[in-house]
Assembly symmetry: C2
Homo-oligomer: 354 residues x 2
Amino acid sequence: MKKHNFSAGPCILPHSVFKEASQAVLDFNNSGLSILEISHRSKDFVSVIEEARALVLELLGLKNKGYQALFLHGGASTQFLSVAYNLLEKKAAYLNTGTWSSKAIKEANLFGEIVEVASSKDKHFSYIPKNYSVDNSSDYFHCTSNNTIYGTQMKEFPSVEIPMVCDMSSDIFSRQLDFSNFDLIYAGAQKNMGPAGTTLVVVKKAILGKVSREIPSLLDYQIQIEKESMFNTPAVYAVYVSLLNLRWLHSLGGIKEIEEVNEKKAQLLYSEIDINPLFKGFAAKEDRSMMNATFNLKDNNLESVFNQMCQEANINGIHGHRSVGGYRASMYNALPLSSVEVLVEVMNELERKA
Amino acid sequence: MKKHNFSAGPCILPHSVFKEASQAVLDFNNSGLSILEISHRSKDFVSVIEEARALVLELLGLKNKGYQALFLHGGASTQFLSVAYNLLEKKAAYLNTGTWSSKAIKEANLFGEIVEVASSKDKHFSYIPKNYSVDNSSDYFHCTSNNTIYGTQMKEFPSVEIPMVCDMSSDIFSRQLDFSNFDLIYAGAQKNMGPAGTTLVVVKKAILGKVSREIPSLLDYQIQIEKESMFNTPAVYAVYVSLLNLRWLHSLGGIKEIEEVNEKKAQLLYSEIDINPLFKGFAAKEDRSMMNATFNLKDNNLESVFNQMCQEANINGIHGHRSVGGYRASMYNALPLSSVEVLVEVMNELERKA
């Protein structure tokens, strides 16, 4: 029986992607070789990474606008470090909206002065701060577009005169934005891009080369650009599966189309959370994430019944993050509306039973 | 028809590993979920990484000897940086045996004084320097056990009183060594361990915590040990396939058994290189690598015929690295003896024809 996979990441990808990805492990492109045993310098793989890099820019509307897309190692957590290494000369402005922002601030602190322009820590990161000001003498402004753990999402981004850097790990490719407002976007692959093991960096070349420190080669965006994302052996399989997933999104019609589906899914679930008297949402309504819905049972005694019902309905991965508790339903691009319908039906049934 | 895959890396893995790895992309452990869509914090995956870490120590004979095995991001190239970040306070001693050593030296140079104890650059890295001395007041000694590009391999390691760090990317798990002579071993997975995308670090805990600088979290071995190799989302699939491959090696009888096969393969090919008047080996005989045999045609006019014959025999990946030219046949653990027999037969046939 089909699982309804609400895992916060690594997360569901389209079944067609799994099928093709499975086949390539046995025989890639009818080469008689597994995708896992070919050289990363082979024509076949070079064309994979080139197509993936080009497709990223196309999907984000950033073609021919001075950006480069890179598939790097190390997860978004490595970017906390790389961003500072490459861009931080004296001070930088960070918006603190949760665990990932806080970690980004911690790592950047080793390289210069970090000004926290605002934080929602006072209310356990359940909202997105507004009306903060960013000092335009900072080297850059950094924010996190979606907060997986707390289920909050930035709906608006400030207008700044300095480079804007954004960790979009958990909502890239899920909604339309004017991506050209950003100068550097990074994202661990394991949500809407692909499996765990590679990290996307989209960077405007014009912002690079301005710090005085020496940058380790592997972390140096300019070197990675020069080497066409192959300074060292890339995570071949993770890049390949990301390409399959990007192709899937492209064939659907791109971000515009998937955003409509994502809106429907989120609307359906949040309506239930608000209408059902047994549940309450965690995040401030105006800041609710379209990707990760966080919610709690008002009566903890119902927990074991609800968990049991979810299990019976083949619902996977809705336990909340340990730092928030309760439930978290992640509704990434590949999650079908029908899975949300099943979850809502179980919530309904609980109400009837209780 | 079966390909004979001599690729220098990413490289051949056992067919049984590809089969199981392919199946897990569709359905992992009969969970109804793909290995690509499960949480890295799920019981199923935690048990994968735990088993892989334990198996590494068992295969290397390092159980209960104060070592930890970590599966990290970023390839061996990131370790060039991490080693220096974690261990280099004032100066370190490096043996320069080729491209990878040179890169390791370049990155470490950002963190302290690097003393090159010896180099074989004078003869295009075609041999391993001997009779060098290592200053025991250095913070550590660093060497590269096998040089993929040049086809040389260290047969003996110096006896030093300081921590010995070794990049074993291209020959780990291929031959018996007293691994307890090393204090830190690292290896990109994509040769004898698994597919590209994860990196093994085996570190003796006692050598850590001795530098005064602050270390970025992701590069800090102590933090990675504390977080049980899950400071951030690991490269789930690459770790899983590495486990399958380590299990395969274990079921064969471990390093001792595979070493015998590797010796046979190397002996067969090097004999042919020495006997066949059309070929000459690149590396000094006493330093020849059991993993990567580098050789040239004496008469370059035979190149297109030989290439054609190799292609017809389904031989893949024997072109030499661009910096050496000629041919390179990589004979990693999973390459069967029969593949080497096919290559030797083609070399023989060329001699008969020429």
